[in-house]
């Protein structure tokens, strides 16, 4: 009996070693797996590229997702192209009829070019990583594939990426100067209007004030799904506005360890994290890997997420600069307690509605439509930064937590959160209505 146990143990060790060594040898990846590898690198670049504020990240994820989707459409008997369904996307390169393509090579070639299109402005370390990934992952992708198939597959993947990039140039968001902060902008004046909240010179004007005018993908425009508006501004105790501010003040002042942990878990600061869009992509990658999604489902999910999150940010920014509402830190210091400090860094743009709430509402809707209600998952996004994983019973629960985290962190009032979640779900409905499958 003891010998049997020992033998079983040895077999287990050998199996583990074989698996590990196999991983080290890096066998040729499936197309869905190599797509996730590219996305993982792109999420790093979101964090480490200076222009990548949340709206900018959402836009790139939209075009990247559509690139992967359209690269895969012709090789799948399940997918339907988005050409004609998205604003301004009228035509794309087609595969040669009857010719053979390799899906791993197609996807890798498309992503290899797309990453340069959307992250070409990253720093020297990012450029170095892109170069390493291009050479390393291409070598893996083409291994054992006939040369003519490689040439044809790469040409097609590159052509799709180039066509999508050309389409992207006319949406109003292609050029981001000064890390998104305008050189000139006249701040609306008046009680309750947003004013700068920090002493960083670059951030004395708000981030991307014109972003709400960008071309959308699936919603008619940025004004689709309007929000009802914040409570009327007032400094009178007992007013609805004061009550919401007092709620933020007291919540932060008496924050429980759990509330603080939630605030930090969803903080997703630009330059210090992969931003809220990247956080949701990270969740999708974790879930997709666990479910070992095939390529068609992978690209369907990532394209829909990208479209919905980009439209959500355009809609949110459209509303933000319509209302131009003051941040809690400004109001509370002026009206309630001059020494109060929020837990999180206050973002440098107007308060209402909450961007994280809008995008989280949209992601809740898209991912629930894709995976179903009550899909439990664990989110390890913050682990490298020392934050403990969190478990959720549904995407809805995660989105609600992401929203309320902004109140716990002291950077949003309740109305901005609740209305943002509703706005996001409304915007996502347009994405969910897209026809992607036969």
């Amino acid at each position: 009996m003891r010998g049997h146990r020992l033998a079983a143990f040895c077999v287990a060790v050998l199996l583990w070693c074989a698996t590990s060594l196999g991983a080290l040898a890096e066998a040729r990846p499936a197309p869905g797996a190599i797509l996730r590898d590219w996305y993982t690198l792109m999420n790093e670049l979101v964090r480490h590229t200076a222009t990548y504020s949340p709206p900018v990240a959402s836009r790139s994820f939209a075009y990247l997702g559509i690139t992967a989707f359209e690269a895969a459409v012709g090789g799948s008997d399940k997918l339907v192209s988005l050409v004609g369904q998205l604003h301004g996307l009228e035509q794309l390169p087609q595969r040669e009829a009857g010719a053979s393509y390799d899906e791993t090579v197609v996807i890798s070639a498309a992503m290899s070019d797309a990453i340069v299109f959307y992250f070409g402005n990253t720093g020297p370390t990012g450029q170095r990583a892109i170069n390493r990934a291009q050479s390393k992952w291409r070598a893996l992708a083409v291994e054992g594939v006939p040369e003519d198939v490689v040439v044809r597959s790469e040409a097609f993947g590159k052509a799709v990426a180039a066509a999508i990039f050309a389409w992207s140039q006319g949406d109003g968001g292609a050029t981001v100067l000064n890390m998104g902060f305008p050189y000139e902008y006249e701040l609306p004046k008046g009680d309750g209007k947003w004013v700068p909240t920090n002493l960083i010179r670059q951030q004395q004007l708000p981030l991307l004030p014109q972003w709400g005018n960008n071309r959308t993908f699936a919603t008619p425009d940025g004004a689709t799904c309007p929000t009802p508006g914040n409570p009327s501004y007032s400094i009178e105790p007992g007013s609805d506005f004061y009550k919401e501010a007092d709620e933020v003040y007291l919540t932060v002042k008496n924050a429980t360890p759990e509330q603080t942990a939630i605030a930090r878990f969803w903080s997703d600061d630009p330059m210090l994290s992969m931003t809220p869009p990247g956080h949701w992509v990270s969740i999708a990658l974790q879930v997709a890997e666990r479910a070992d999604l095939p390529l068609d489902e992978n690209v369907d999910l990532l394209a829909r997420m990208g479209i919905a999150m980009s439209d959500a940010f355009v809609g949110c920014w459209n509303a933000k600069f319509a209302y131009n509402l003051v941040r809690p830190i400004t109001y509370i210091k002026k009206v309630i307690d001059p020494k109060w400090e929020p837990i999180l860094n206050t973002p440098p743009f107007p308060e209402y509605p909450s961007g994280h709430s809008t995008v989280s509402g949209a992601m809740d809707a898209v991912m629930t439509a894709f995976f179903g209600e009550n899909y439990a998952f664990e989110d390890k996004t913050g682990s490298p930064d020392g934050r403990n994983p969190r478990q959720y019973t549904s995407f809805h629960e995660a989105a609600e937590e992401a929203g309320i985290s902004r109140l716990y962190g002291g950077i949003h009032f309740r109305s901005a959160i609740e209305d943002g979640l509703v706005q996001g779900r409304c915007i996502a409905a347009y994405t969910i209505a897209l026809k992607t499958r036969k």
Binding site: L41, E44, R47, H48, T49, A50, T51, G120, N121, G123, P124, T125, Q127, R128, A129, R132, A133, K136, V176, L177, N178, M179, Y183, L199, I200, R201, Q202, M271, L272, P384, D385, G386, R387
Partner: protein, 531 residues
């Protein structure tokens, strides 16, 4: 090899040739003349990814003539030591010297007398094995890693600082390491451990102690931030690469393990692309302020309230030193700042601020034409940019730098290290209405003859200027030697040294316009530089 060898010891008499007094409301702008072409300096800081950071210069006297010589790193190319051949008040000239420092993979140097033999040694920061190079005199150096038990490791070192802990005759060196350079596909989050080399037995270093956590340090400084008499270690970290990191300060107490300060101590989280530290007691309260260089934003920290808590607030905006984007030309993209240094370039008695600027490497979202800053402090405590008016607004991609009086005329000159192009030197020819000056060197019996950890105080009228004597900070390089003070229209200065052990020596009446060596329990010794 010390300046004392050529000193004419004398009780202080009036110095010759100091400028006429004159304090205007608007700071007087000094005129810097680019003398690179005739200087004899040709070294450039070369290389690709491994040399995106570094490029620090060391300025110190290596041949005992009291003039500051310089060691310039070459990055992927060889480093070079240059002997200062300038004459007092003359053009800046240097001669390359075969010194033993002609090594590649060097990112910077800090000068210090490690073995307290009266000859300055060098701590050499490298991509690979760090070195301690023993000064032999006459600007010659030899490797001393083995002799001093210094484990140079194998890392991408980009910062360092040195102090003498109380009761120790051997220094403590902190070394700041950057990314794991073997992580090519995903280097983010791969910050390698910083090291603390403390004294071991018998004039050697103990094995280095890792300072965990480490967050890709680009500048370190031992500084007595709280007037406790025991310096702590400030570390400025590059947020580009750490995960879960922040700026740091370690309490380093003799015989105890380093203790990282936390929120419970009053330390607030600050996350910047930290690249350089400059310190000076700007408000004369005895507590240093700290200028931290970064990208698109720079910080000037002052204690929120004097006292034992390291609770700093940012006053860069209020004092006019954000230096967040170029001030000349049409390139409005954000700036990238590296070395910073407080010193008085117009001798009005108010320290000014120099900041070296340069794109990391073809980062299109940041300025490519990013001129270095020269920010003059006004009487109201606010700084104004005069880099272009002063003539130092270069087009180089700068990294390290040093404001040093190379020609010993009482005016601080400038050397700047540039990436992929030659280093530059400017001679300060003075400012119209510029003030008087004094230059001082504190000396005490070995160990720690340079009194690292002490302070020099200079009173001019009601104002007291204080400078902490440190080895560290800036960006990858530092200085050892004369400490310069502008005196404005004061013709005499009352000087004191607070020695590292806390005792105080005073010299009540030193004439402006002179160089003085201040030794414990001795009269000030004036020095006449060679003509």
């Amino acid at each position: 090899m010390r300046t004392t060898q050529k000193l004419a010891v004398a009780l202080v008499l009036a110095g010759a040739g100091f400028a006429q007094p004159g304090l205007a409301q608007t700071p007087a702008v000094p005129v810097f003349v680019d003398e690179t072409a005739g200087s004899g300096i040709t070294t450039s800081y070369d290389g690709d990814w491994f040399y995106i950071v570094g490029g620090g210069v060391a300025a110190f006297d290596c041949n005992g003539d009291s003039y500051a010589d310089i060691a310039l790193p070459g990055g992927a190319s060889k480093a070079q030591l240059y002997v200062n051949t300038s004459k007092q008040g003359g053009s800046l000239t240097f001669a390359p010297e075969a010194s033993g420092l002609e090594l590649d993979s060097i990112g910077g140097f800090y000068p210090a007398d490690i073995d307290s033999d009266g000859i300055t040694d060098l701590l050499v920061l490298r991509v690979g094995e760090n070195l301690v190079m023993r000064g032999l005199g006459a600007c010659k150096f030899e490797r001393a890693n083995e002799a001093w038990g210094f484990d140079g490791g194998d890392a991408w070192t980009a910062s360092a600082a040195l102090t003498f802990e109380h009761g120790s005759s051997w220094p403590t060196i902190a070394v700041g390491n950057y990314i794991d350079r073997n992580e090519d596909l995903s280097p983010w989050g791969s910050c390698t451990d910083n090291w603390l080399h403390r004294p071991g037995e018998g004039g050697r270093f103990a094995p280095p102690l890792p300072l965990k956590p480490s967050f890709c340090a680009l500048s370190m400084l031992f500084t007595d931030w709280d007037k406790s008499g025991t310096p702590s270690l400030r570390v400025s970290n590059d947020r580009e690469y750490y995960e879960g990191g922040q700026e740091q300060m370690w309490r380093i107490l003799p015989g105890e393990a380093p203790k990282l300060m936390t929120l419970a101590d009053g330390w607030k989280v600050l996350r910047i692309w930290g690249m350089g530290i400059a310190s000076y007691d700007l408000d004369s309260d005895g507590y240093p302020e700290y200028f931290l260089t970064s990208m698109a934003d720079n910080k000037l920290q002052t204690l929120a309230a004097p006292g034992p808590k390291p609770d700093y607030k940012d006053v860069a905006y209020a004092r006019g030193v954000t230096a967040h984007r170029p001030y000349t030309g049409d390139d409005l993209r954000p700036s990238t700042a590296w070395h910073a240094q407080f010193d008085d370039v117009n001798n009005d008695g108010l320290v000014d601020l120099f900041v070296a600027k340069g794109n990391v490497d073809q980062m299109p979202d940041f300025a490519m034409h990013d001129p270095n800053n020269l920010l003059l402090q006004g009487a109201d405590g606010k700084f104004v940019e005069v880099g272009d008016k002063a003539g130092i607004a270069n087009n180089g991609n700068s990294r390290g730098a040093a404001l040093v009086d190379f020609n010993m005329d009482g005016l601080l000159d400038l050397v700047v290290v540039n990436r992929r192009t030659g280093a530059q030197v400017w001679r300060n020819t003075g400012a119209e209405g510029g003030g008087n000056w004094i230059e001082l060197e504190a000396r005490q019996p070995a160990p720690n003859e340079d009194a690292i950890g002490g302070w020099i105080e200079v009173k001019r009228g009601d104002a007291t200027m204080r400078r902490e004597l440190t080895v560290g900070g800036g960006h990858a390089g530092g200085q050892l030697g004369w400490v310069h003070f502008g005196l404005g229209d004061a013709t005499m200065a009352s000087v004191a040294v607070v020695w590292p052990d806390g005792t105080r020596s005073e010299w009540p009446d030193l004439a402006a316009g002179g160089f003085y060596v201040l030794e414990r329990d001795k009269p000030a010794a004036s020095l006449s530089p060679r003509d």
